[in-house]
Symmetry: C2
Subunit: 335 residues, 2 copies
């Protein structure tokens, strides 16, 4: 899938994102309301707000997270050659994050910060309907700037994968653009996930420019893509995005996904593997399955099916890193 | 259930134990064998061994643990007045431990250590048969000594609950005896969990003296009680322990439990609430249910049923702190 002039690549996908440890807690609608949180979205909080919120919730389960990090961990679990770039602090949560992503075989060697803010944490409130609402303290992850960026690693990737959440930090944004240019210059492609409708809303114009100028493969859910073009409907957003990048994969929860490429529109069915427990990581794992197929030169239909399958698995468990064997799932469901 | 000469107590149960954060990972039998681990038991490791083991396992889920801490959290979740004494470091895992036990309503104010070893961690290897095998780095938790002990809190408890694991540290052992004497002197009772067959084997004689001299309510599983008396069979161990303390509650996994009191023997059926996922915390939650009933003056039959129900819930989930509502479960199953 790389352009013909590129050298052989040592990585299928290299991702850049916030390196975050998730704290999963159960919450009810009243709690979200009392704290002014909008269900299904991500809000940024400072350390004090993070502490205050944490003090008011019940017991948690801690697990490595971060949108692009979840995707790259998923690609590694599928057997893809995956690398991740992101910044932790040299603290206990940073050690947990580093262990978890390496333990599934992903390459991760961004040096941990030795001073400054602690490793990023995301308080994820899971409601009875399995929806997740996130409050993120970005901590050490915003320290990522172009000087920290391992461009050599980026150049070795067939696909560079970027999460939209990085747009919330100016340093990370600059690193983001520098990386996209390096990837393209070395014959790689650039994939972007829009991450969150509020994040798109905060940075609409620069996201539009980014999609037009730098992105080959775009991932977005219904809310994000309609927000990006301030469209009145999903259909209008589909018309808007068509042709702006090589491929757009638009996810629609229980309605599956739509993959656009040129004039083609491929409808992909969702995969149900059990009771819906927690939607954390659904979009991230869709991108993992899709890009795993994409970098192997699979058809876009199969890329979408791989995405649906991985997303279908992760929503049946607590947390965004699959506890089941993804290769076994693929062998069983897609042969 | 307290003796008639005691003042009214502000706590139902106060527990002393190791303050530990669990790291739950999936593992197979070959991994246990390769690392010389015996399935279903707890091994102590030093920090270096802990790091080495962690580096060789897959991604984990972190959650507060510790045997007595799990029991006290369970009692608080049931609506009992629970207090916990144990030592963390002032680090991120210590903050997680402190948050989780307080967030369910348990009293916990042992000051965190400001220097020295980090908060205790237990690597829990969960195999496909739902058994758990534990490697514990005791870290800051062994710093608990009599000077740190809040004896005022102990005197306010109807029942003081001690975990056998404390026996592995000399400071904690002294704190343990001092607390048992303070509890009895103020009209309270003392409950002990034998914790682990290997732990019993390491300290057999002093455990026997402790049971004879200081314990009113003893919790043990089949392996632990047979190890305590080097008995040839469970039946022989039952004969040995009968009459040595007020009550002995002996758990037998899928065979339920036996409650001994004087000449009485009460058989308690196990409770099955779903697929067996992870036995971590089964014994701890049995003790929680039992002591919750005991401190409310319930019959020993009902204490055993409460224990079975709480243990039956916790084995259907990952980790030792119930994610379901225990009061709802009690209302539904025991009316």
């Amino acid at each position: 899938m790389t352009s013909s002039e590129s050298a052989p690549k040592s990585f299928d996908v290299v991702g850049i994102g916030n390196a975050i440890v998730d704290v999963l807690v159960q919450a009810d609608e009243a709690f979200l309301e009392a704290h002014g949180l909008t269900k299904g979205t991500m809000a940024l909080v400072d350390e004090q707000q993070a502490e205050r919120l944490y003090a008011s919730v019940g017991p948690g389960l801690e697990t490595s997270g971060g949108s692009a990090a979840n995707t790259l961990a998923g690609i590694a679990q599928l057997g893809g050659r995956a690398g991740f770039i992101g910044r932790v602090r040299d603290d206990q949560l940073g050690a947990i994050f580093s262990h978890d992503i390496r333990s599934v075989g992903a390459h991760f060697d961004t040096p941990p910060a030795r001073s400054g803010a602690s490793t990023a944490r995301c308080l994820i409130l899971v409601t009875d309907d399995a929806q997740r609402t996130m409050c993120t303290y970005l901590g050490a992850s915003v320290a990522l700037d172009p000087a920290d960026l391992d461009l050599e690693l980026v150049r070795q990737a067939q696909v560079l994968y970027l999460e939209g959440y990085l747009w919330d930090s100016d340093e990370a944004k600059r690193a983001f653009i520098a990386a996209a240019e390096a990837a393209r210059a070395s014959g790689g492609q650039v994939a972007l996930s829009l991450s969150d409708a509020f994040c798109v809303d905060r940075h609409r114009q620069s996201f539009q420019e980014l999609v037009d100028g730098h992105v080959d493969v775009l991932f977005a859910n219904e809310l994000e893509i309609t927000s990006l073009y301030k469209a009145a409907s999903f259909e209008e957003a589909v018309d808007q995005v068509r042709g702006r990048c090589k491929v757009a994969a638009l996810t629609r929860s229980e309605q599956g996904s739509l993959v656009l490429s040129g004039e083609r529109t491929i409808e992909v069915a969702p995969v149900h593997l059990g009771k819906l427990v927690d939607t954390t990581g659904a979009g991230d794992l869709y991108a993992a399955g899709f890009l795993f197929g994409y970098t192997r030169g699979e058809s876009l239909e199969r890329c979408g099916q791989l995405g649906s399958l991985c997303a279908g698995q992760v929503v049946t468990q607590l947390g965004p890193r699959p506890q089941a064997s993804l290769p076994d799932l693929v062998a069983h469901h897609l042969g």
